[in-house]
């Protein structure tokens, strides 16, 4: 008995962390699943069991599909820029730029990621302003005035404008991650390639790319799951409008829960987000486990 107590005393170390996690992270996730089978609002605060009604309502709601589609668009564009373009930028930084300037550029590229997405969102809502915004001014200045529009105010462009801002904010961040990964590649590989007379492009494909594979996988995963969790920038710039055209799952959940007071429906949207992001993250874990055993 005494020995048992001594062993359990070691729990003093993990107790605060475990308690916080259970109460504020795990319990809500489980509770959300439960709540998605109930219906309630401010006027009938006692949840009423409704089975899968919330899910039926959600899956037949065009706005839900619109939101999901916007998340997918977010993921695709982010992959192109945050995994693709930033990889190219990182490789160029490594290949072309001398040490000192490289450090400077790396710092500079990271700055948008160091400021909050809210600041960036509000800033870009000024830049997108139809009358005084820099974007339209710039288009007019180069003779493309016919392209000028109310970027955030039109259904056809709202979500794309938000996505564009998000790329501006994040490319530098992933580029820096790639740079760090590239700096871990042993120099000898490049020297061998040079001896073989391999050009810069070929060296990139035969050495750099395979050597940063792990980081690439990681960034791809983070980018995709980030795209399904997006909330802030949409909230700040369009709040899902106009006419729900730029809703994403996160903002749609928020709107349903805290504006339309349809908590059950909102909880079922949350469940969908949970399933998607959990599947992506679990896939990544499984992948990295397997690789660790392989090597």
């Amino acid at each position: 008995m005494g020995a048992l107590l001594t062993r359990w005393r070691a729990w003093v170390w993990v107790l605060p962390a475990v308690a916080l996690l259970l109460v504020f992270v795990y319990y809500p996730i489980v509770d959300n699943l439960r709540l998605s089978f109930f219906s309630w609002n401010a006027f009938s605060p006692e949840p009423r069991f409704v089975g899968v009604d919330n899910y039926t309502e959600m899956f037949t709601d065009p706005v839900f599909w619109r939101a999901l589609l916007n998340n997918v668009a977010y993921a695709v564009v982010s992959l192109v820029f945050q995994a693709g373009l930033s990889l190219v930028l990182a490789a160029l930084l490594e290949e072309l730029v001398g040490k000192r300037l490289r450090g400077l550029l790396r710092t500079l590229y990271f700055i948008p990621a160091a400021m909050s997405i809210t600041v960036a969102g509000v800033l870009f809502s000024f830049l997108y302003n139809p009358r005084y915004g820099l974007v339209n001014e710039a288009l007019q200045a180069v003779g493309l005035g016919h392209l000028a529009r109310a970027w955030l105010g039109e259904e056809s462009s709202a979500i794309w404008s938000v996505i564009a801002m998000s790329q501006w904010q994040s490319i530098g961040y992933t580029a820096v991650l790639f740079v760090v990964a590239m700096q871990r590649i042993p120099r000898e590989y490049y020297e061998a390639a040079k001896v073989d007379g391999s050009g810069a492009v070929r060296t990139f494909f035969s050495i750099t790319l395979p050597m940063v594979r792990e980081m690439t996988t990681l960034i791809v995963i983070l980018t995709i799951s980030g795209a399904f969790l997006v909330f802030n920038e949409v909230m700040v710039m369009t709040a899902g409008g106009p006419d729900n055209s730029s809703q994403v799952l996160g903002t749609w959940l928020y709107r349903k829960a805290f504006f339309e007071d349809d908590m059950g429906y909102a909880a079922s949207v949350a469940t969908v987000i949970f399933v998607i992001t959990f599947a992506i993250a679990a896939g990544q874990l499984a992948l990295s486990r397997r690789r660790r055993y392989d090597s």
Partner: protein, 295 residues
């Protein structure tokens, strides 16, 4: 799995590149590469610069000469932004951010030590619980947390944000710190034990000081997270006097619709602390980021 000094540029032989043979094609490639790097630098920097400079303009200048420099440095815009609410938001952000930094780093370091040095009953279970916490996203928990916080009386208090920012960041921070502590030699603990120190004393007097570099990284990343967090701050605090910067700025933007310079000054004030933190602690930042995503 990943080297610790990732922020450090280990390349000493940067010039060992296939540069001797400058064919026409490689010249074109270099020009294109430099153009891309330069264009990206401008694209990143210009909006930030515009924000800072426009914060010094008057309305006339912002609307009529969006590309021009401010006629004079109107610090009064910054003073007005400060008076119109930024003071309060700023103070609130400082309170919430610093409290959550202290709580997160201490609780995580405490747990990390227990996990890597002690035999806990169900220790693997705890590790799994922490790992799983990495996969769960805040958005999914919004509705149950709203109920929970209301029920326990934390809704609309600083505590709501402090507790949540801590709970949701504990998994990441534990892994970050644990990866560092594992590398510390066990002989340190043993020597202290022989000197008659208790576990807790070893932790406070030996392990914690030795872990300083990673604690700094953890604290910086927590600062960036808490300072910029939006969703929780939006949903769980409704009292105007408790709002943090990200949410406060949005409400300020809607209050001051036409007074762009003041809003832009407010944005600059909000962005400055984290950008400065990043510039000063860049190495620790990058270490934390790459270690964190590498796990």
């Amino acid at each position: 799995m990943i080297a610790l000094d990732s922020g450090v540029d280990r390349r000493t032989t940067a010039k060992h590149r296939p540069r001797a043979t400058m064919s026409f094609r490689s010249v074109v490639g270099r020009v294109l590469g430099w153009t891309l790097l330069g264009a990206f630098a401008v694209a990143v920097l210009y909006p930030v610069l515009w924000m800072v400079l426009s914060g010094f303009k008057d309305n006339q200048e912002v609307f009529n000469q969006p590309w021009g420099l401010p006629g004079e440095l109107r610090w009064e815009n910054y003073a007005r932004a400060w008076d119109l609410g930024v003071t309060r938001y700023f103070t609130n952000s400082v309170i919430v951010t610093s409290a959550s930094i202290v709580a997160t780093t201490l609780i995580s370091a405490w747990a990390a030590y227990g996990l890597c040095r002690l035999k806990l009953p169900f220790g693997n279970g705890v590790a799994l619980l922490v790992l799983g916490g990495l996969l769960l996203s805040p958005t999914v928990a919004l509705i149950p947390l709203f109920r929970l916080l209301t029920a326990i009386g934390l809704f609309d208090t600083y505590w709501a944000l402090i507790v949540l920012y801590t709970a949701f960041r504990i998994p990441f921070t534990i892994f970050l710190i644990r990866a560092y502590m594992i590398e510390l030699p066990r002989s340190v603990d043993e020597a202290a034990t022989i000197d008659g120190a208790t576990r807790a004393q070893i932790f406070w007097r030996v392990i914690l000081p030795m872990s300083r570099p990673i604690l700094v990284s953890a604290a910086l990343l927590q600062a960036l997270f808490a300072w910029n967090e939006f969703a929780f701050a939006l949903v769980f605090v409704s009292d105007e006097s408790l709002k943090t910067l990200p949410v406060g700025l949005v409400s300020m933007q809607s209050r001051l619709l036409t007074d762009w310079p003041v809003v832009l000054a407010g944005l600059t004030i909000a962005a400055l602390p984290t950008i400065l933190l990043f510039l000063i602690g860049q190495r620790q930042f990058l270490r934390g980021l790459t270690e964190g995503v590498g796990k």
